[in-house]
């Protein structure tokens, strides 16, 4: 007892926290976009006629989903250099986040593709549309509409999980918090503030994505 909380350091720290938060937003923006594009390809390939492709993607998804993100990150950042692949921390973080994100969203997108009634595809093919157009214009939009809420949750989860990339010295929000508390000796207050920033970011990101989805997807998010 007898400990008084002190937030006097906060004035000088605002810009550092802001730049850390900007880095976190940058990381999640890049890996979410890349992850969703890749997972659409992966989910389509998972349903293709090539058995090797199907099994390869299934193996990748299981491997990523059954190991911790932190270990994947360490493997990419510390392990790959022994194969001659040396990555900048930010690149390693984006790569790890994208690979992780893709594994989860592949399952989500796949479920969405399966949820589109078969008749939709058959009808489009009967109208003489090419298979690629059928996928892009008929099946995918309907699938995205169904899975949009699940994608939103997955992006928010990934944003929260990105706190871990501070461990390979990417200067995002958690890294800045670590540096701040080492300088101010106010660990609890620092992490409290940063936790609240994360909370605000996750609520904000969710709202933004839902608002964006309502605007982009015809008929709104289900």
């Amino acid at each position: 007892m007898g400990y008084a909380l002190d937030f006097g350091w906060l004035n000088d720290a605002v810009s550092l926290i802001a730049s850390g938060a900007a880095m976190t937003i940058f990381l999640i923006a890049v890996s979410a976009i890349a992850g969703i594009v890749l997972s659409i390809l992966a989910a389509a390939a998972r349903r293709s006629r090539h058995a090797v492709l199907r099994q390869g993607i299934a193996g990748y998804v299981e491997l990523v989903r059954n190991t911790p993100f932190l270990v994947q990150l360490f493997f990419i950042f510390f392990g790959l250099p022994s194969l001659g692949i040396r990555l900048d921390p930010v690149v390693a973080a984006i790569l790890a986040m994208t690979l992780n994100m893709t594994a989860y969203t592949t399952e989500i997108v796949g479920a969405g593709l399966d949820a589109v009634p078969k008749g939709q595809r058959e009808a489009a093919l009967a109208l003489g549309l090419r298979p690629r157009v059928v996928f892009m214009k008929i099946v995918l939009p309907q699938a995205l509409k169904v899975i949009y809420p699940a994608l939103t949750s997955q992006i928010v989860i990934m944003m929260l999980e990105s706190a871990v990339v501070s461990q390979i010295a990417v200067r995002e929000l958690t890294y800045e918090a670590d540096m701040l508390q080492a300088r101010t000796f106010r660990a609890f207050e620092t992490y409290l503030i940063v936790t609240l920033v994360y909370l605000a970011m996750s609520i904000g990101l969710r709202r933004l994505l839902i608002a964006g989805g309502n605007r982009m997807l015809a008929g709104g998010v289900s």
Binding site: L70, V71, F75, G79, S82, Q167, S202
Partner: protein, 215 residues
């Protein structure tokens, strides 16, 4: 520098994996107990109780687990508790698990048809007995697959406790890596150990899911 054979690396990693398993088990048990309490609040008839549980769940699902661990690790000593990495790890994972489990089970309770409550009342059972004898058994039966799925997530989450200094699999692997400079082998094996722990559970969750779908 100490010489490490491949077997030394694997043996030490497997020994450290015991702590990962123990931590997961304790946190899951603790999370079940606290999660049940939160569930009762979440489905309570009183508004303020529901509201509290909702904020509690939102707080733990809306912030990084790493921050929750840091706050406990640095916050509890301020309140006069002496705290070790193990205590902070168990407490942090328990609280986090309770929020997720309560939310999963709430979904199960809401999936039970309202008529089941009415039937319970008409048999003269009071609220707690309805819950214990009629509602919860059905709710747990429906949510068995996501509960096992969450256990997998929890096992993976224990990796984060390495950052606050708890000697589990990842922290041990960092030490071994610093001694051997063989990150590819070390982290590769760590990934394999986690996979061996989680994959059977993932499979089991899938089986449970298919079984509930059939009913």
């Amino acid at each position: 520098m100490i010489e490490f054979t491949l077997w030394d690396i694997i043996r030490n990693l497997l020994l450290a994996a015991r702590w990962t398993v123990l931590l997961s088990a304790v946190a899951f048990a603790g999370g079940t107990i606290v999660g049940l309490l939160i569930l009762f609040l979440r489905i309570s008839k009183r508004r303020w109780m529901r509201q509290f549980a909702e904020y509690y769940i939102g707080l733990f699902q809306g912030t990084p687990l790493l921050m929750q661990l840091f706050l406990l690790f640095f916050g509890l000593p301020l309140l006069g508790f002496r705290i070790e990495p193990w205590t902070a790890a168990v407490l942090g994972l328990t609280l986090c698990a309770s929020a997720f489990l309560a939310e999963i089970w709430r979904g199960g309770v809401q999936a039970v048809p309202l008529g089941q409550w009415d039937a319970g009342s008409s048999l003269g059972l009071h609220y707690l007995k309805q819950l214990r004898l009629i509602i919860l058994p059905q709710a747990f039966a429906i949510t068995r697959a996501p509960t096992v799925g969450f256990l997998v997530q929890l096992i993976k989450s224990t990796a984060l406790t390495s950052i606050i200094g708890f000697e589990e699999l990842v922290r041990t692997s960092n030490a071994i890596n610093n001694a051997t400079f063989e990150p590819f082998t070390v982290y590769g094996f760590v990934a394999l150990i986690y996979f061996a722990l989680c994959f059977p559970l993932t499979r089991y969750a899938k089986v449970l899911e298919l079984r509930t779908l059939k009913h």
